[in-house]
Symmetry: C2
Subunit: 294 residues, 2 copies
DNA sequence: TATTAACCATCGGAGAAACCGATATGTCGT
DNA sequence: ACGACATATCGGTTTCTCCGATGGTTAATA
């Protein structure tokens, strides 16, 4: 016959409180109950855990040795209990986000930090995608919540909320690019040079007015690298350039830099569950978030 | 009301065996018992753990999520149980050895390895000391078992067993020492040079016949270093020199190298407890040990 | 010294839980 | 249709837990 979890609890409570009576008060049980529990535990283990000194009890060598293991067993028990409570309360076991690279890392970080402590039993997965790629991930259920820039094309399929933050983007070229030399550069000069454009995997983006030659990449980070290598000009998020390629030169054209609105999207047919809803709220209330520097 | 450990056991057994009935057979209980246990566990956790397919049951997402935690809780429980059993069976919680540096490390290592797996819940402490220092550690109870070279002076206070192994020692000097140059050196040449001698902290070693000047150190490792620095000649264990100072030169004198007997000592008044007794046996049966090379 | 206040151990009884045996039900393969 | 195998459910017994009361011991106090 093995010992019970309650006996272990009585054991560590008695140690922590210095007496069985105090432990009983803390646990809301009778002294006789805990006395019996500990006595039975000692019988089950075939060991003496406490040295019953007249007025205070002290741990035996064996007791000192077993105490940390007892704590560990209780902690494992509690951990299971907490995880189960989280699952039972409807909190999802895993939350998958898709973020656009237009989101400044520093603005996401505090939300994730708070999430980690508030939902310790929920796994978090962060994907990165743009435009149609992002919407496809949300549509397929691969991700529950998407944070994207620009307008949402999906129509009534998605629930959309506009975020109070905005993303500033500019047109950049490498320092040795011809466009970086001419000052001031006019918008007429752009079509003469290669544009580096975002092209999603799913490839349903409408063409914009640009008529010149283009190279394409599915992520802003890749566009950034291609810009660094001097392959052409590109529209890039300002924070991304400031952080990873500060040497790039912004083109001072009329109408630039632009402020692009940011949106949170999810499946309208599938309401957000607690963790996802909380995460959305974090982005809707920028008070709790650090302002994007720059 | 919280779940019991038995319920967790039923849970993982059902998962491992693929069915509740099989789990019941494995655990030696009735199927109805385990069925109720798991049902109660699901009630306590407010979760559905199993998808009761007609003929086979499969884990819910929540069940998959909780399974590793349940295993961990059971493992912690078992660990406590095993440690308690070890303590209750009289195995000491900590075993402290004192080894002489004359013991070849390679001859001790297999014993320690086997010890680690045989007594996983016993802490092991290895001290190093020579002669009187070693005996003092055993006498005070600081160590339970000592493995030393040479004869035991303590009289009836100690229990002594001679070990089948022996330690070979030689007289060494540094390569640039005068004694290393003369060939052949006679014993008469020794007193003219400084001797590096073992002197224990407790300092009750009798003087031997040497009449020349001496420097002293309490450990062979220190003597070794002093010999390397050319301070004099010293008697050192061969294996120690071969391993840490192969450049030292042995003096080819009549009667050298010597074979020194090795002894295990412990307090006669305090019989060896299981782990210590096992350890002693390992050294008494050199069959299980690697032979000392060289 | 007698008293009070803590503390711990023990005992008997009430309630709860575990366990068993039997039974009903459902599914798969023959 | 039937046997083999699975799970769920239902009484009944045993076991465990918890409580309340009691007694013994020690330390501080009047």
């Amino acid at each position: 016959m093995s010992f019970s979890q309650d006996a272990l609890l009585a054991f560590v409570a008695a140690v922590d409180n210095g007496s069985i009576s105090a432990a009983a008060r803390q646990l809301g049980k009778r002294q006789s109950t805990l006395s019996e529990s500990i006595a039975n535990l000692e019988i089950d283990l075939a060991l003496t855990l406490f040295e019953r000194g007249s007025r205070q009890l002290s741990l035996t060598a064996a007791g000192q040795r077993l105490l940390p293991l007892a704590r560990q067993a209780l902690a494992a028990h509690d951990s299971l209990q907490l995880q189960a409570a989280a699952l039972a309360s409807g909190v999802e076991a895993r939350l998958t986000l898709v973020l656009s690279d237009t989101f400044h890392t520093g603005s996401v970080e505090p939300a994730l930090k708070a999430f980690a402590s508030l939902y310790p039993y929920t796994e978090l997965e962060c994907l990165v995608g743009e435009q149609d790629d992002l919407l496809a991930l949300v549509r397929s259920g691969r991700a529950q919540l998407g944070l994207m820039s620009g307008d949402v094309q999906g129509g009534s399929e998605f629930a959309v909320r506009e975020l109070p933050q905005q993303a500033r983007t500019s047109l950049y070229v490498a320092p040795d690019h011809p466009l970086a030399q001419q000052r001031p550069a006019g918008a007429w000069a752009l079509p003469a040079h290669r544009q580096l454009r975002l092209q999603t995997f799913t490839n349903t983006l409408p063409p914009d007015g640009h008529t010149g030659s283009c190279w394409y990449a599915p992520s802003y980070l890749l566009l950034l690298e291609m810009t660094q290598l001097g392959f052409g000009w590109a529209e890039l998020p300002d924070w991304l350039v400031a952080r990873y390629a500060p040497e790039l030169v912004p083109l001072a054209l009329p109408g630039w830099p632009q402020q692009r609105s940011l949106h949170a999207v999810w499946q309208r047919a599938q309401p957000l569950r607690p963790a996802a809803a909380w995460m959305l709220q974090q982005f809707l209330q920028p008070a709790a978030l650090d302002p994007t520097p720059g």
